[in-house]
Amino acid sequence: MIAEIVAPRYDPGAALVIDGATTAAWLEGFLRDELVGRRNITRAVLGLSGGIDSAVVAYLCARALGPQNVYAIRMPYRHSSPDSLADAQSVIDALGINAETIEISDAVDAYLRCAPDADARRRGNVMARMRMLVLFDQSARLGALPIGTGNKTERLMGYFTWHADDTPPVNPIGDLFKTQVWALARHLGVPVAVIDKPPSADLEANQTDEGDLGITYAKADQILHLILSGYRDPTIVERGFTPADVALVRRRVDTTHWKRHLPTTALVSATAINEFYLRPVDY
């Protein structure tokens, strides 16, 4: 009997492994080209929530532009976790970037007095949009470009407030799944407390992303990767995921395509913008 060599079983996580150094260098180059090269802007401003996404973006901006050119804005609402402020501070201290805290409670509550029936979802959206209002105003004040912090998983799952979290014109991590953001964070040296805590939008007490989504990021990322690679649901199930998880992820992707586009415009001419009249964003 001669030896048999058996191919390893499919490892759904292997495709999502990234090299931290290569990824960081690439994204730093992206930030320098987008800000300094293309726009002649040397400063960046971002909302620093205390979570891992904005922490990673702060690290990338500091490495790309120098910490003196990065402005972190903390924008807590009165219900925000004190831990979030502390975790954000640990990032600020580690990087030596500029920082400011702007409470959004009064502004949010002023509107919500006009909308007393607003449920948690509406209140969360108001807070997210208020934070973006503040960020863009601070952008104008500081002469700094707002930098986005949304990751690929939440973009695909539609787990963000439209025209809020997705609004900044430049986003270095929008094509990285959440688990890849974790890997990059470890490479960059983001404080362990920020990496290890359960991700949360921090819009309500005890809220977690994975609780909201109904699936872990580890599973969701692998399923998303297979969906985007063109695999049909039965094949994905064969690769080790439950039909319920696959259906959940598929439904979230399929019902949120609109959130990943600009507003739908009625086409009535042969010169419609972005339909017939086509120019790249950097032209």
């Binding site: 492994v17 990234i18 090299d19 290569t22 690439w26 992206f30 080209d33 090269g37 790249p280 950097d282």
Partner: protein, 296 residues
């Protein structure tokens, strides 16, 4: 010996005049050492992703050559050959082209214009929406000897380099604009790993020098993956650049190396012998007016 400079550049999108001026600075630098042939990337003076703006920036080959010649002559005397990618307007038909031009005379001498044969129109690419594909793969007399140009995806098809070598090419020049993708576990982008593997195979299989000039810098989030490089006719990498950052690579080509490589590994000669059996196989999906018998 042929002294080559591979230029890995980062044009400012759509700023043709500004990029020409920047090229003048590069030319001045290159004059500091012997330079017979300068190779620039695909879309080197406009940027690659132009969409409809290609109709505003495309030039007729003689006009483009005249611009290059003016910039070269502004820096001094001497003759140099240049390969440069550009968007070509041929009387209202638009191509993604690269020309081989001799600069330094009162008028530039266009030796060859290659129009990209394979226009990627999938995923991030949308070329065939805006350009017409070329129809001919020519081999021409470069300063090194018989040469061919393959633009980016042209080189991804094994048959193009094979045809070029069969038509006599001893040098294959690949101007490219390759958006970086695949941040896998390795230290290089996956598309760069693929490029280098493929180009090394082209060089080794046919016993040709391969010169690859890649665009670098980000275009609206898409990072051009640079990684310009040169391969010997044995398939060894001679010199290579990082993915990001402008730079010049200098390399000296020796025609004798081609003969030595081909004598050591005579795959091209073997192919010339076997080609009729493969080419005239009636099962190949090729239109033919008439078919010769396959077997003698």
């Amino acid at each position: 010996m042929t002294h080559v400079a591979l230029v890995q550049c980062k044009p400012r999108k759509g700023d043709y005049a500004g990029n020409l001026a920047a090229l003048g600075t590069i030319f001045a630098q290159l004059r500091g050492a012997p330079t017979d042939l300068i190779v620039l990337p695909e879309a080197a003076l406009t940027g690659y992703f132009l969409e409809g703006a290609v109709y505003e920036l495309a030039l007729a080959a003689p006009a483009f050559a005249a611009d290059l010649n003016r910039v070269w002559r502004a820096g001094g005397s001497g003759v140099v050959d240049v390969v440069c990618g550009f968007f070509e307007n041929d009387a209202g038909t638009f191509y993604n082209s690269a020309l081989y031009v001799r600069l330094g005379g009162a008028e530039p001498e266009i030796v060859h214009v290659h129009r990209k044969l394979f226009l990627p129109t999938y995923g991030v690419f949308d070329e065939e929406r805006f350009h017409t594909r070329g129809r001919r793969l020519g081999v021409f007399a470069s300063t090194f000897g018989p040469a061919a140009i393959l633009i980016c995806e042209d080189a991804w098809h094994a048959i193009t380099s094979t045809v070029a070598a069969l038509k006599g090419a001893r040098l294959i020049v690949v101007p490219s604009a390759s958006p970086g993708r695949g941040l896998g576990a390795g230290r290089e982008l996956e598309n760069v790993v693929h490029w280098k593997s493929m180009l090394a195979n082209v060089a080794q299989e046919h016993g040709v020098y391969v010169l690859y000039a890649g665009l670098t810098g980000f275009e609206g989030g898409k990072g051009m993956s640079g990684s310009s490089c040169a391969f010997s006719p044995r398939g060894d990498v001679i010199v290579e650049a990082p993915a990001l950052g402008e730079c010049v690579l200098r390399v000296v080509l020796d025609n004798a190396e081609v003969d030595v490589a081909r004598s050591t590994l005579p795959l091209l000669g073997d192919l010339q012998s076997a080609l009729p059996d493969l080419w005239f196989d009636p099962e190949l999906p090729l239109p033919r007016a008439s078919r010769e018998p396959v077997e003698s």
